[in-house]
Symmetry: C2
Subunit: 238 residues, 2 copies
């Protein structure tokens, strides 16, 4: 059966729109307009995950093992006071998380990939980072949309993105886009002291763990998550 003419027009229009969209080689995921719709329905797992990433500005990043932490602390005595690595050796082998700011796009146009602005690491630590899996955890609770629901209640959404923390080449176009994404959501970052050697990192997402309702974590693939808006456009046009 042929589709009705008006649906065909919509489909062709959507295809044209997609075809002529300006390329985003660095932030490859399609944008989601976050502020418009409010929290998506629990049935919309990918939308909820993207909404949570777009709305939040900070989360808990699991840092690499003790050696990384030690080097990071030793590297930046102004910010971190220096260290003889006693803190690090105390933490040997322990999991470690810290609060960091992030942005997945300029406000209202997010792409799902969290970018971070962290102090530079020395090459050894950087190598360790490349090999090291990382997780980044967000809660809906600080957004205020859980109301009186407890932060642990499964209907108050929680998102953990697992993957690799990658240093971004500061000369790349991705770095420019990421800086714009970070500095619009975190204006004070732009004025952070140059001698602290802040650089841009991104989370290369491998696994997504979302709880937003009773019934368990929602299975979302990184592709579903990153291409959420594209898929939605295709669905609408089919």
């Amino acid at each position: 059966m042929l589709p009705p003419a008006h649906l065909l027009v919509v489909a062709v229009g959507a295809a044209l729109l997609l075809a002529f969209r300006p390329p985003l080689p660095a932030l490859a995921a399609r944008p989601i307009v976050a502020a418009a719709g409010g929290k998506p329905a629990p049935t919309e797992a990918a939308a909820t995950a993207r909404w949570l990433a777009a709305q939040n500005t900070w989360g808990v990043l699991r840092l690499s093992p003790s050696q990384f932490l030690c080097r990071l602390l030793a590297r930046d005595p102004l910010l971190f006071g220096g260290t003889d690595c006693t803190i690090s050796s105390d933490l040997s082998g322990a999991p470690f998380g810290n609060v960091v700011s992030y942005s997945d796009g300029v406000p209202g146009e997010s792409h799902g990939i969290p970018y971070f602005y962290l102090t530079t690491l020395d090459p050894t630590a950087r190598d360790a980072l490349e090999d090291e899996r990382t997780s980044f955890t967000l809660s809906e609770f600080p957004l205020g949309t859980c109301g009186k629901i407890d932060p642990e209640n499964p209907t108050c959404a929680k998102l953990t993105l697992t993957g690799k923390l990658k240093l971004i080449d500061p000369q790349s176009s991705e770095a420019d886009l990421a800086k714009e994404a970070l500095f619009t959501k975190h204006p004070e970052m732009e004025g952070w002291p140059k001698n602290h050697h802040f650089q841009i990192f991104k989370l290369e997402i491998k696994n997504i763990f979302l709880i937003d309702w009773f019934g368990g974590p929602k299975p979302i693939s990184p592709t579903e998550y990153l291409e959420y808006e594209k898929n939605r456009a295709l669905l609408k046009s089919s």
Copy 2:
């Protein structure tokens, strides 16, 4: 040189007060009246850490490795939808964090030890938990006291407690105190379904990582942290 008489009276009085304080075998740390003073000064590291733990109601707990997660998901199909452990194997070896609620005491009388109300684990997972180091991360940002300061700015405090997650004997007096602490701060917990086998856990603190100002993490020992109020009383009386 002998101390002046009035100081001696204060010191003896304080010693008597301490001596006749009702015993708190389970929540051994001295209480801190959190709401009264607002955020402590940056020079008061232990006070700031205790204030942050007392004021917050949720944080990010680094769960044990994949096998624990898998068992947890498999254990509670109603809450988590069951699993064939594919999520777990995907996450194999990855660090993993999730948002959980906690309480370190009834409001206005906290003791610094975070208690959690989590679904029961099977004995194997429980053993794994006992051996496994855990970290629990809190941010000052959701309290609203950072104002317009960025969540990553070191003056917006961050606390990571590292240690072991221990299951509390449900028949113990510690369990009763912990339940009171949890249910007063998280009233809905008391009504959570019995067939989800929620049980009480605590974080046995081994290391404390606080950033609340420029100049690096503050060195705080678990004893300084847990006995903060006691030390303050002694200081005042000396």
